[in-house]
Symmetry: C2
Subunit: 390 residues, 2 copies
């Protein structure tokens, strides 16, 4: 096999973007041999785009059973991610899953179980992990040279979406269709990066506002506070309501500080870690000396294309993926904990009661505002992925 | 009267600084005619500094009754602020009070009552209100041209203090001596500016950590979340543990954003307020256009000297002060609400039960770690006032 034969499930905003990238030759080890969508117009678009080379399906399982694909890319609404991944993995078909891994962790655990039993590769589309800034942040934190983390602050309010965005698909921003708002749709990347770089929090206290800036039923404004096992604290502030918003990710450690903002990473290194300085210093207004510099990175941020290429390399040559599928549960645990904290009006510990979360979610699904069905529109997403570039 | 005859109560860190400024001729309408301290060494220092021109007292009330002063500057530990102010105001002596107004609002209300009944002037040493950046922020918010506030985020973690600072005075960082930690000693400026510029919050949910980075019994790490009457939210993150820390104050409004950081104020103005844009726009990934520029200020930040000069002008010519004494209660209400939220483990509404706060505070005072008394040292505070200059 010199090319992975890929079937794309869902030719909406994300699926169309992936298809376009592959057709444009950006993923030389992937060929799109099949596409699947319930919307005939999207299938026609894909057929034309692939010059008829991709077989068209309206049923994903039939596509999996067609013998035409080695791998599939799941880019349908969130609730269906685990179900489709389980179908594919059970058939030995490699899976690249769009974020989030699912809407609730119970289903994602089943997906991860299926992956464990399967020989097929399973990856998550955490394209922002390819960003040179975030990779560098993780590298520095993991190197231990700045000591242990004491504070993480991420103000990630530059996910602006106007009302027209929410009106562009019947499933959008509904409990029954999407299972959440900014935390489920826009922030999975940030929640994943946050835990990838800083580790998982232990407790979550979150203040969510539902339909605060838009005519929607799910959250579009979040301020969350977390505590980590080692006593560090963190804050995470997000919204789709602020224009133009902010993307500022700061990590304070015993030995310095990392600040990712405006497409740059500033590193502050203390000459001596603060706890040791404070022990020795005798000057009441003394302060540890430090230097601040811009981190040199490799400059690469291959994003979606990078994730797909490394997925193909993993299938073809056993190389490492950008993000293993099983890691998708981490960001979702944080996001579910934020919802649960808001619903219960109290601090939630991770792990939380996943049955309780599911029951609370289903209450909201049962009362979900059912939008009149209308044709979903497809937007060009280029430059909307909020990858930290200024 | 062409000069205000001033008595300084407390020749510690702050009192010494004020005395030095006045002696240096920076307050031409003020003469220091008396000083008061319980520590004979500090009195000797002041006597020498004033070339014997200031009478020395160990009892503040005797100084007030001496006929030597028109005004006093209160720069003693926090608990005594209201008591001394009430003594002075009752005698028609003008009062400039160091921050905070007091430790608990019950006492501050009594002080404000005394001020109402007195003909004397009453001001608070909110020197950071003189900062051109903060004045400009307030001016823009109050002008209404950016619409209503929706989010305020202040990360003010650059109040670093080493252990030696806390060991430099027996009253420092104890419930009985100071009544709190970073919220009572360092943050009164920021809490005052926050409410001066953005208005008072309605609810406060705060996570405080006591002696987290230092060997002290009071809080040295705070993350607080607030809600305003109009539905806006805010976060306030502070510590004396982080080095070098951050001072970044961001206000998001319907029509733009203000960002004070690194001694600059960046203003972002939307061409159309977000709510109006979102109503009209039909593009799913549309975004209101905007411009960002650095605000032009008058460049003046007269700090402590400015507060004293305007206090003198208020006494001599009825001009306006930088901050009326009665306004001191606002920041303290926020700070008390943060403590109460932490002690009760829940969200606190403003106004809160002030008797409950006092009772909870007194529990901690009763169990306060009593440090062995030792001579307080006096530090040169130049460049420690954290006035936002880089």
């Amino acid at each position: 096999m010199d090319k992975v034969r890929m079937g794309i499930i869902g030719i909406g905003n994300m699926g169309s973007g992936h298809l376009s990238n592959i057709i444009a030759g950006k993923c030389p080890e992937i060929a799109v041999t099949a596409v699947c969508d319930i919307n005939p117009e999207r299938l026609s678009w894909a057929k034309e785009k692939t010059e008829g080379k991709a077989a068209c399906f309206t049923d994903a399982v039939k596509m999996m059973d067609s013998g035409l694909i080695d791998a599939c890319l799941i880019a349908v609404p969130h609730y269906s991610h685990p179900k489709l991944a389980i179908e594919a993995l059970g058939r030995g078909i490699h899976v690249m899953c769009e974020k989030p891994a699912g809407v609730y962790t119970k289903a994602v655990r089943e997906m991860n179980e299926a992956a464990k039993k399967s020989n097929a590769k399973f990856g998550m589309m955490f394209n922002q992990r390819t960003d040179c800034i975030y990779r560098k942040m993780r590298e520095i934190v993991q190197s231990g040279k700045l000591g242990k983390i004491r504070r993480t602050n991420w103000i990630i309010t530059n996910w602006y979406r106007p009302q027209a965005y929410y009106d562009s698909g019947a499933w959008r921003a509904t409990w029954s269709g999407e299972g959440g708002g900014v935390l489920l749709n826009q922030c999975p990347h940030n929640l994943d990066l946050w835990q990838w770089i800083c580790g998982m929090p232990k407790t979550v206290t979150a203040h969510l506002y539902y339909g605060k800036w838009h005519d929607i039923e799910v959250e579009d404004d979040v301020t969350a506070f977390v505590e980590y096992e080692n006593g560090a604290t963190g804050s995470f502030i997000t919204t789709t309501g602020d224009a133009p918003g902010t993307n500022r990710f700061e990590i304070t450690l015993d030995g310095g500080k990392l600040l990712a903002e405006n497409g740059k990473l500033l590193v502050t290194e203390l000459d001596e870690p603060e706890p040791e300085f404070s022990k020795k210093n005798s000057i009441p207004f003394g302060m540890p000396s430090c230097k601040t510099y811009e981190a040199q990175t490799d400059g690469l941020s291959e994003q979606h294309v990078g994730v797909l290429n490394r997925f193909a390399a993993s299938i073809l040559r056993g190389e490492q993926m950008v993000a293993g599928g099983e890691e998708g549960i981490n960001g979702l645990l944080i996001s579910n904990a934020m919802h649960l904290s808001s619903w219960l009006g109290k601090t939630v510990e991770i792990p939380f009661d996943e049955d309780l979360f599911y029951a609370e979610l289903m209450k909201r699904v049962a009362n979900s505002r059912r939008k009149e069905f209308f044709e979903g529109s497809v937007a060009d997403l280029t430059n909307t992925y909020n990858t930290g570039k200024p």
